[in-house]
């Protein structure tokens, strides 16, 4: 969570002004429109997912790239969202590996956009954190499969 908050501010200039306590997520995730996920494997397996509405995502990538983004289908926009998640998950991954020696390796980031999207994941316990920015909400979902062997 620290990685998300700090790096989002550094990369996009957008502040997380409010953050909920981590809450258990049971079942599927309803996406707000733009979703990026990175899965990982090592001593444990899991997923790190960031979900947000298109307006916030477009503003974030516009701030990152210095180029006005107006379409969520634009390749540079999708690449920007993927890279943002890659940096955040990479930073969190380094912290987890250094502190707990989990040996986690990240798969490449995935981005998907659309309407009324549902993300289903088999057999994983997840927590989600709902955060607010001045431009809209952002949801962070972290899931681990089968607990952590440390």
């Amino acid at each position: 969570m620290e990685s998300t908050k700090t790096l989002l501010k550094d990369m996009t200039g957008i502040d997380i002004v409010k953050m909920s306590v981590p809450t258990e997520q049971v079942g599927e995730v309803d996406s707000m429109g733009v979703c990026t996920t990175i899965t990982f494997a090592g001593k444990c397996k899991g997923r790190f997912m960031i979900d947000m509405p298109p307006e916030l995502a477009l503003a974030m990538v516009s701030n990152m790239s210095g180029e006005k983004m107006d379409s969520i289908k634009y390749k540079l926009f999708l690449a920007g969202i993927a890279e943002m998640n890659n940096i955040i998950a990479g930073d969190a991954n380094t912290v987890l590996n250094n502190q707990y020696a989990l040996g986690l390796r990240l798969a490449p980031p995935i981005v998907f956009t659309g309407k009324n999207m549902i993300v289903a994941t088999a057999k994983m316990d997840a927590v989600f954190i709902e955060a607010s920015t001045e431009l809209g909400p952002i949801k962070i979902n972290i899931a681990f499969e089968g607990g952590i062997e440390v």
Binding site: S31, A41, R105, A107, G114, V119
Partner: protein, 153 residues
């Protein structure tokens, strides 16, 4: 992309589908893309890490997804995709990729797979990798399955 990285995924899909009684499988087309973008009703994906790294996605129409879920549940009719059938299809992508990992292992290529996910929605655009991707479409008795393989090799 070298065929040695693609064939294990095709063999695995054929093997797993065969376990559910889907045996009439033919390769329909093969396409390379600069990146892995997918526009499909239902897409399941799994990451791979280890000696090779990337994402593999299995995309199908809603009709094919229902028939696949039905085949997994011993022929029970599936009228609509619900949370149980979506979870089953995510698990199917796990089986496909897990079987492929076992084939790679037998060829001294170690890889680990990450948890599967499945996405359904309207006007969904997926980007699973920003490096060259190979898409193999296979025809089966229950419809077409597109296998998208995006590996950093």
């Amino acid at each position: 992309m070298n065929a040695k990285y693609v064939n294990p995924f095709l063999k695995a899909v054929e093997h797993v589908l065969g376990q559910f009684g889907i045996v009439d499988i033919t390769k329909k087309s093969l396409q390379t893309k600069e990146d892995m973008s997918i526009e499909s009703d239902v897409t399941a994906f799994v990451g791979v890490v280890g000696d090779i790294r990337g994402n593999v996605a299995y995309a199908f129409s809603e009709e094919t997804a229902k028939k696949l879920a039905s085949a997994m549940m011993m022929g029970m009719p599936v009228e609509a995709l619900n949370d149980m059938t979506r979870s089953a299809l995510a698990e199917l992508s796990n089986m496909f990729t897990g079987n492929a990992a076992a084939i790679f292992e037998s060829e001294k290529c170690h890889l680990d797979i990450t948890p599967p996910s499945l996405v359904v929605g309207e006007e969904v655009l997926f980007v699973l990798s920003f490096f060259q991707t190979l898409t193999v479409s296979i025809d089966t008795a229950i419809g077409t399955i597109d296998i998208h393989i995006g590996l950093e090799v």
